[in-house]
Subunit: 213 residues, 2 copies
DNA sequence: ACCTGAACACCGTTCAAGT
DNA sequence: ACCTGAACACCGTTCAAGT
């Protein structure tokens, strides 16, 4: 809402930053071209100098965030690489709930996502997985990472207040177990929990790796 | 678009069916109160006799679909129950892409979801998991199921044409591995693939079950 | 009881115009 | 070159009115 400080002409980086700020803090539905323009201290149509449409802006937001995911390295141990890759992706999606929600709608739609998928698959193939199994491993880990990010985001972002109210408002007769372990559910340290499951999946696929070298 | 066949007054079931039909086939953004009303052969405001708001309608849609998930049984083997539970949920979410996308935004927000979570947790506790581990297992399997459903939905629903174009339009220099295994990626039989990863997660947690009985 | 129709405050986006 | 302002075809939703 704060008007722009400088008289410098608006540029794309400023627009994308503002868009992420609004969408991550207030939810994707709050990201309006008019609201975004106000955040940039400008009129709605000024934004269209830098993005073709709102959809194009959203693509740029995703690419910008995914640029922070550590690119897997074919030379290193595949398990370390996969762990670092999906932990990094998870951390970024939790930090940017709006991007998590966008990726939920089309997981591999962005150019950044396909580029990362290519490198990730390359690591698995280099490690000795055949093509079918490499795809299976990558999709399993990716599914888990996306779902885990969404769950954590659903608790930590702007809906948190609602959810806590939900869990504490449950009756013991209708939800005997959930009311008892609800505290664990609501307060579970997401990162450790997420890492645990990810490790289990990776270890499981390690036993399916055709004996190599 | 087809006008209503009968003169019977509109009821909630008809509205929910129509809403799922539109949202699953044409995407959530196509689900408009006016579009939905037209689908029911009625004016937009007539729908408001049966739902308080569009958000309330969406909640009802989720609950209606989740009613089809097989409720886990405390008495049976926990592994069979978890497998059937998440396979069932996955199948329903793939069948109803719109519901998958809604659940991505607030995984445990609906009353049906919390009810199912309660039963699922009860099965795990009955099997001998302590509260912390039961939560961990349930969230890991749930994350994987949600993410896997979203990935499959992203390929099989109304965005499929886009995605295939994406995968076939990639250049070999930029995506050497993805172009080679892209066919596997696009044509992978999602259900078998999904079941494989789910089994691995369940088996992994089985080894962490405190020795019982 | 059930539905319609006009209206309001919003959207994304187009187009002509300002400086 | 960069931005504004009015306008268009949409939204969800309110309210008064029809039968």
């Amino acid at each position: 809402v704060s008007p722009r400080k400088t008289d410098r002409p608006l540029d794309l980086a400023t627009v994308v930053d503002a868009a992420l700020r609004v969408a991550d803090r207030e939810g994707l539905q709050a990201l309006t071209m008019r609201r975004l323009a106000a955040e940039c201290g400008v009129t709605a149509m000024a934004v269209y100098r830098h993005v073709e449409s709102k959809d194009a802006l959203i693509d740029v937001m995703v690419d910008h965030v995914l640029a922070g995911v550590p690119v897997p390295d074919r030379e290193a141990d595949w398990r370390d690489e996969m762990l670092a890759f999906f932990l990094g992706a998870h951390a970024l999606l939790v930090e940017h709930p709006a991007v998590a929600h966008i990726m939920a709608q089309r997981p591999l739609a962005s150019t950044a996502a396909t580029a990362l998928a290519d490198r990730g698959l390359a690591v698995l193939v280099a490690a000795g997985f055949d093509d079918d199994l490499a795809v299976e491993v990558f999709l399993a880990l990716g599914s888990y990472a996306l779902g885990g990010s969404l769950y954590q985001v659903g608790r930590s972002s702007w809906v948190r207040a609602d959810l806590t109210r939900r869990f504490t408002g449950l009756t013991e007769e209708e939800h005997p177990t959930l009311t008892r372990v609800g505290a664990n559910m609501a307060d579970a340290v997401g990162d450790a929990l997420f890492t645990g499951g990810l490790r289990r999946l990776i270890d499981s696929y390690a036993t399916s790796l055709p004996a190599a070298r």
